[in-house]
Every structure is written in structure tokens, then in C-alpha cells.
Amino acid sequence: MRILLFTLALLFTTTAYSQPATTLKDRITQYTLENGLEIVVIQDHRAPIVTHMLWYKAGAADEPRGKSGIAHFLEHLLFKGTKTREPGEFSRIISINGGSENAFTSWDYTGYYQRVAVNLLPLMMELESDRMQGLILTEEDVLTERDVILEERNSRVENKPSALFGEHMARLRYPNHPYGIPIIGWWHEMEALSQQDALEFYRANYAPNNAILVVAGDVQPDEVLAMAKTHYGGLKRADTPPRVRVTEPPARAPIRTVFTDARVSQPYIIRTYPAKSRVSGQQRAAAALQMFSYIFGGTGITSFMGQEMQLAQKISINQSSRYDARALDNSDFSLYAVPAQGVSLQDLETALDATIAAFLEQGVDDAHLARIKTQIEAEQIYALDNQSGLARQFGASLSSGLSVADVLEWPGLLQSITAEEVMEAARGVLNNKATVTGWLMGEEEEETMSETISKTITGEGDS
């Protein structure tokens, strides 16, 4: 039996354009408006739906010192009113049209998105451009919303020892650079954030020349450009501050820490190594490191860590490596290991070090490298199924100092990395002794860390 559904055919004016070829490159079009707004259009004609995202090249790492959390707080406040729209009106318009919306803040960017029927795209542009420079905040809105972000901090961080541990580790890794400050902010600074703080950050950073528009869905690029000119074209440039952030002084010695909290049931170890992130036009070193991360601990039990620690020695029940290749500034390569029952963190760490040494000794398993390349190739196909995922990839990359060409080049670069390059990347990152090693544990099973340098116990005022 076949049932044809016409419900939507009546609502949408879908034009019968042919589906572009199945490569990502053929689906991407890029423009820049005269006022500096960058535009990326991603065609996906499977359904009459569009994802409209506006990204600002301003995140938590761009905050003034002492105002931690202001980028994220402002993101919340953008849902209040503007000169032409009542508070909540934007959200209500999306809601009565069945759309969904949200926003997010990271260290390097802040983004806003709506997912709606494609005929609403001009309206989304009208509303999003309206709040780029027309925000109106009342003192009362700001104070109430500040309570919301404090509860958000409670939910995300204060109630989760693993998150508190993560903040603590970041602080040790980045004593000077703002990546050591949590996106949501420190409690004591968040509770002092004001309307004026929000507006200052807003005026400094929210401008077309500091933003990227990403539109993905059942659209034609030239039509998106015309609409964007209408709605975003009239916005004025601003003197946005240069994104030059303080850098870390050289680390002279490894840092070690034990973090205890009675709410921890499963202890584990994290170790971070400083690593360079992707650099526009020169991504090869990062690609090699990315491949090393996949090989060493990125594929579960088939990875080097998985085989050695989990399968052979049975010393861990979970373990992984991770490399955040995309960041405006430097990044980290990190290792994570959860001990098997009865294994101490000291024994686990010893095994971790032995595993690193073994890898540097044995080198890359060519078959594993080949399998990873097969998967990277396949991901190119699977990724096309996720419209908003593609939009996010471009938005995050472009606001982290990369270009459309860098994004398109990346999978091919990964494919071309040789075993020798992987080993070179491995040695480069693992020989850096400026590591931070942290043990997270519950209070009852506290054990002594050899060469302990710093030790903290969670409690009020400590984080």
C-alpha cells in the first residue's frame, strides 16, 4: 500500500530544483555582504525545512577580565525584547509556527538558531537581524535572568563533581589564558554581572562584521543572498575589538592534582597535553594529531589504549584519547582512563604511561589506520543526513579562525596522513612534559598520589 502525503505540499511552495550532487562541496555557497557579514549556504532539498543560524565571533574567551559568564548571560538576554519587538515576541512567533530555536555559547563563539518551515526564512532573518543591534534590557529582566544562569550553573556544575573537576583541571592547564575560565562563569563573578556589563559586551561584539550567517536547507543560494541583503544589509559595522588573547607562559613542570568529592562513585584519571589547534591554510600538523588521537584512544576497544589497557591488561573499563582540533587559540590533547574494579589510580596511571611508551615503541598498526580512513570517508556521506550538524560545523569553524576551504579540505587531509606523520605527531605531543594530570575520586577511597603538588577539596568558596 502506498500513501502519499499532501499535508505540507499545500503549505510550502517548494520549487522543483534538482538535488545537488552528493558531495558536500557542491552544496556550499559563500558570500560576504558589504557590511562584512559572512554567509554560508548549505543546500539540502530533501524536505521544505530550513536551519537559520547566526554566529558571533565572540565567546567566553573574549570577555573582559572579572566578568566571567557575560557572553553566556548576554546570550540568554537576547531572548528579551528589542526596540520593535516585545519581550518573548520572537519566541512566540517561532512557536506558533511550529519552529524550534535555541542558542549556545562556547569559548570562541556565541550562536543563535531557528529551525522552521522554509517559507519563514525571511521572517527569521528579520527578527534575528533586529536583535543584533536593537536589544532593549530592563533591570528587572536582567536580575531575574541572572538567577536563571546561577541555577544553570547549579545544574551543570555545582551538582556534578565531574564538572567541578573539569573546571579545576582547566584552571591548572590555563592559569593565564581565558580557556581556563568556565564558559558559564565563576559563581562569584556571575552574581555580580549587571545590565551595563551585558550591554557593553553586546555593543562591542554584536555587529555584522563580527558575525557569520549559516543557512542550511531547502534553499537556493542566490535567494538567500537577496534575503540577507534585505534584512542584514542595513546593519552597521562596529569597531569590534581584535581577538588577541593573553598567552600562557612556558610551563616548567608537570602539574598533578587530586580532586575529591563525596558524590563521586567512579574514580578516573584525566591528563591533558598542550596541543596546537588547526591553523587556516596549514592544517596538516593538526590532521596528523587528529589521526593519532583516533588511533591511540579514539575507537574504543580497537584503539591502542583499548587493546592494551582494557583487553590485554584488564586494568581499565573505559579509556579514550581526545583532541580538540578546532579552537581559535591553542588546544589540548587529553587522555581519560577509568580503572577496573580493585585497580588503584596509581596503578592505572602507571599502566597509562606504559601504554604511551609501548605505542611510541611499536608504532602505527597500518590496518587500523586504513580502517579509520574508511570511516572518515563514510562520515562524509553520513554527515549529509544531519542538516543542522553541517550548519554547526561551518559556523563553529568560521568563528574559530578557519575558512570554508579549510573545512572542505579537512577530510581529505586526514585521508592523506601517513603512519610516519602520525608517529611524528605522537612524539611531538607526548614528549611535551607540561601536562596536567588529575585524579577524581570519592572521599572514602582517597589514596595518596605520589609527587602530589596540589590538592583540593571541594567546598564553598573553593571553586
Partner: protein, 443 residues
């Protein structure tokens, strides 16, 4: 360091919401084909040739609630082990083979089902599905893999025992469904999981994988004929069920406030009320009512009163969870320990207000616009549509539901929804679970 991304809003859910109403999708001028294989296996198919891969979803009805009391966790552990060695392949060899084929398999147990999701490339579909077949038909439950997965599961159970959200979710379900198997956690207990044997897993496998309790969807670059062959190969060889499914769980809570002491700064709140069944003539009225009081989007009453006006929480929402195993209306939020009493009072007030005064014409109209408008937007790629296809069948909804669903939402009248509000909403009956160290108030 993990780069966290902050989201402005979150949703809370204590339930696997199969059948939470409005399940399904309107595929814009897309065809759903009903396929019956030569050997009589039924599936729903959407052909989508533009990307060369195929997504499958197999929903086997009867999940962890099939476990005996002293074997709680058997179905979950069995499910976890499906790809940890099967046929001729050890766990490691199985993973390697999946990597070579770039096939994605996910095996997941929930209270009422075991679901298998698969995404495979068109270019090697036959090999990928042969691997999947071995996981479904011939899992090995090797001693090594069993010991390893047991440890991981026990670690997870113990961790959840120290997470306020998980403690609250588990306690809420237990307070509602008592000693029915539907009230148990998916992973089981440390004691029961520790004792599970190879024989227990084999028995759990035989209970779950039967050909008369599976609902199948496929979306992607595959024809009906080819899908028929896949169904015969993967499913037709499974046995028929030889035991009845458990009876439905009754809603037992009489209401009240249960405080679970946990030393943490923010209390997690969960609440519930009895509700109607999926086949009740007023189901759609209750569904729209839930949206108005605590549904998604930023317009709901609880969101407006508790977050927007008072800043008491980051996230608050409610949901209607109806299934063949049990029904409840529930919700959740979290707030600092010293603000819990205020929050409990406000939730009670809102529930009573909607019972006493109903909703306005404008609220009803806005809710209908959202619910009907959002429906077609649910089909967001092959992977998402395919879950909807199998889920709709599990909910006993016909393909025509896609066409009738929005008209049923539209048909809810103000008189009907307000009568339903009076019938279902009851501040006295609210069953609260609070996990944290709340400053005691008037409750």
C-alpha cells in the same frame, strides 16, 4: 579539556517517551511504503535516494520489564553484549569488521523495548547486514566480554546512585508503579547484575528476539524488493514468542512529597499525576493541555511563571507518558535548596489553577499552531525518520495517523480541554520526589 557548549534551554525527561502522544511525522509529499517480505515480515519504508546510505530501526517490544525480579538487568546486559562477540568474531574482531564497513550499529534496551538502529552504506550493505545478523542471531556472550561489560554496568549503576537526577527519576517511577517490573531501572541492581550468567543472557536473548513482536522501519537508498530480502534474511528466522507480555502497571501513588536526602547545593524535583490512556477519546485534549502547562518551547505556563518571571530554575517541563505498560503525567525542574518550597508551592498553584479555570482560547489556539506546525519538522533526516516509523508501529498507529494526527489536534475544543483539565489536574494528588537537601517548607 572538553569544550563545553552551553545551551540556553534544556528539557528534562524521566521517561523513554515512546507513545507520549503525537508520535509520528508528516512527510512532506514523501511516500511511506508498507512492505511485506516474501516470508511475511512487515516494515515501513521511505525511499530516499539522494544520499547513498540506509538507516534501519528494529523495535523489539518487551524490554527490561521481561526480566525476572532476581535477574533484573539481564535484558540490558544481553543488549550491551550483542556486538561484543558474535558468530565467528570476538568482540574486538566484531568492532574491527564494523570499522572496515563503516557501519554504525546501536543496541539499546529500555523498559518496554530493545531497539536496534543501523546505518549502513549502500556500497556494502550486504556485508554490513550480515554482520548485524550475527549480532542478532548469534551473540556469543563470551566470558571475557561478559565480565568486562558487567563491570562497566555496575560502575554505571553505582554512579547513577550518586547523581541526583538519576536518583530522582528512579524514585519517581518506583513511587508510581510500585513493584511492577515497569518500575525497575533498565540496568538492574548491583546485586542482580553481579550474579548474571551466560545462561541468563541466553534466556533474555530468546525472550526479546522474536519475529512477532518486532516493528521495523527503513529509510534511504533501498527498494521495497531489496528491503524484503533483508527482512527475510535478518528477521524471518527468529522464533515466535512463547510467553505473554506482562500486564499493565497500575498508577499507585496517592500523592505527597518524598524527600531523599543528598548533600548537594541544588535539589532535583520530579512530580507526577495519574493520566488517561493513549486510546482515551480525550487523549489529544490531554496532549494539548500538557503543552500549555509545561510543554516544549518557551510559552508554557510553568516556564513562564517559574523561570521567566522568577528565575527559579534553568529548565522546567512536563510530559505525557502513555504506553501499553503504564501511564503518567510527569514533570521536573531543579532549584537551589533554599528555593524548593517556593517552587513546590508554585507547581501546585499552577496545577490547581488550570484545573479550576481552564485555559484561554488564545492559549489553546497558540498550542494548536505550535503542535501542528512542529509535526512536519520532526522529519529531520533518514536517521530520525526511521525511528519514527518503527515507533509509530509499536504504538499501534497506522500510516494514516500521519494524515489524521493534525486534524485531531485541531479538533480539541475549549470545552473539551477544560473538562480534561478538571478531570486530570489535581494539586492534592501531586506526587513529588525531591532529591537534595531542601530547606523544608509548607508541603
Amino acid at each position: 579539556m572538553v569544550k563545553l557548549v552551553m545551551l540556553k534551554r534544556i528539557l528534562i525527561c524521566v521517561w523513554a517517551v515512546f507513545g507520549a502522544g503525537g508520535f509520528g511525522t508528516a512527510l512532506a509529499a514523501t511516500e511511506i511504503q508498507q512492505v511485506d517480505s516474501p516470508k511475511g515480515i512487515h516494515a515501513w519504508l521511505v525511499q530516499e535516494p539522494s544520499i547513498p546510505f540506509i538507516a534501519f530501526s528494529f523495535h523489539f517490544q518487551g524490554g527490561t520489564l521481561l526480566d525476572a525480579d532476581d535477574k533484573s538487568g539481564a535484558t540490558n546486559l544481553m543488549t550491551e553484549l550483542l556486538d561484543q562477540g558474535a558468530g565467528d568474531l570476538s568482540a574486538e574482531a566484531f568492532s574491527r569488521r564494523a570499522e572496515e564497513l563503516a557501519a554504525h550499529f546501536t543496541f539499546r534496551a529500555s523498559r518496554g523495548s530493545v531497539t536496534i538502529s543501523a546505518q549502513v552504506l549502500k556500497s556494502n550493505m550486504d556485508e554490513a547486514l550480515a554482520l548485524l545478523k550475527s549480532a542478532i542471531h548469534a551473540p556469543r556472550f563470551d566470558a571475557d566480554a561478559l565480565a568486562r561489560t558487567k563491570q562497566q554496568t555496575i560502575s554505571s549503576i553505582e554512579s547513577k546512585g550518586k547523581k541526583p537526577r538519576d536518583i530522582a527519576n528512579t524514585a519517581l517511577v518506583a513511587s508510581v508503579f510500585g513493584d511492577h517490573p515497569y518500575a525497575r531501572t533498565v540496568e538492574g541492581l548491583v546485586e542482580t547484575v553481579g550474579d548474571l550468567t551466560h545462561a541468563d543472557l541466553t534466556a533474555a536473548h530468546a525472550r526479546v528476539f522474536v519475529r512477532d513482536r518486532v516493528f521495523i522501519g527503513a529509510v534511504g537508498d533501498i527498494t521495497a524488493t531489496d528491503l524484503g530480502a533483508v527482512l527475510d534474511d535478518l528477521i524471518a528466522g527468529l522464533p515466535l514468542a512463547d510467553a505473554d507480555l506482562p500486564a499493565k502497571a497500575a498508577y499507585k501513588s496517592k500523592g505527597g512529597v518524598q524527600v531523599i536526602d543528598f548533600d548537594t547545593p541544588q535539589t532535583v524535583l520530579r512530580w507526577s499525576l495519574p493520566t488517561l490512556t493513549r486510546d482515551d477519546p480525550d487523549f489529544f485534549a490531554a496532549f494539548v493541555l500538557n503543552h500549555i502547562i509545561g510543554g516544549s518551547g518557551f510559552q508554557a505556563r510553568l516556564y513562564t511563571e517559574i523561570r521567566e518571571k522568577r528565575g527559579l530554575t534553568y529548565g522546567i517541563n512536563s510530559y505525557l507518558a502513555t504506553s501499553r505498560w503504564g501511564d503518567l503525567w510527569g514533570g521536573g525542574m531543579a532549584t537551589a535548596n533554599d528555593r524548593v518550597a517556593e517552587a513546590v508551592g508554585l507547581i501546585r498553584e499552577e496545577v490547581q489553577a488550570i484545573a479550576d479555570n481552564g485555559v484561554s482560547e488564545a492559549e489553546l489556539s497558540d498550542a494548536k499552531k505550535f503542535l501542528t506546525g512542529a509535526y512536519p519538522l520532526r522529519f529531520d533526516g533518514n536517521k530520525r525518520i526511521v525511528k519514527i516509523l518503527s515507533g509509530m508501529q509499536a504504538d499501534k498507529l497506522g500510516v494514516d495517523y500521519i494524515a489524521t494526527r493534525n486534524p485531531q489536534v485541531e479538533a480539541v475544543s475549549l470545552a473539551q480541554i477544560n473538562a480534561v483539565a478538571k478531570r486530570l489536574m489535581d494539586a492534592e494528588g501531586l506526587n513529588f520526589v525531591l532529591v537534595g537537601r531542601p530547606i523544608r517548607g509548607e508541603w
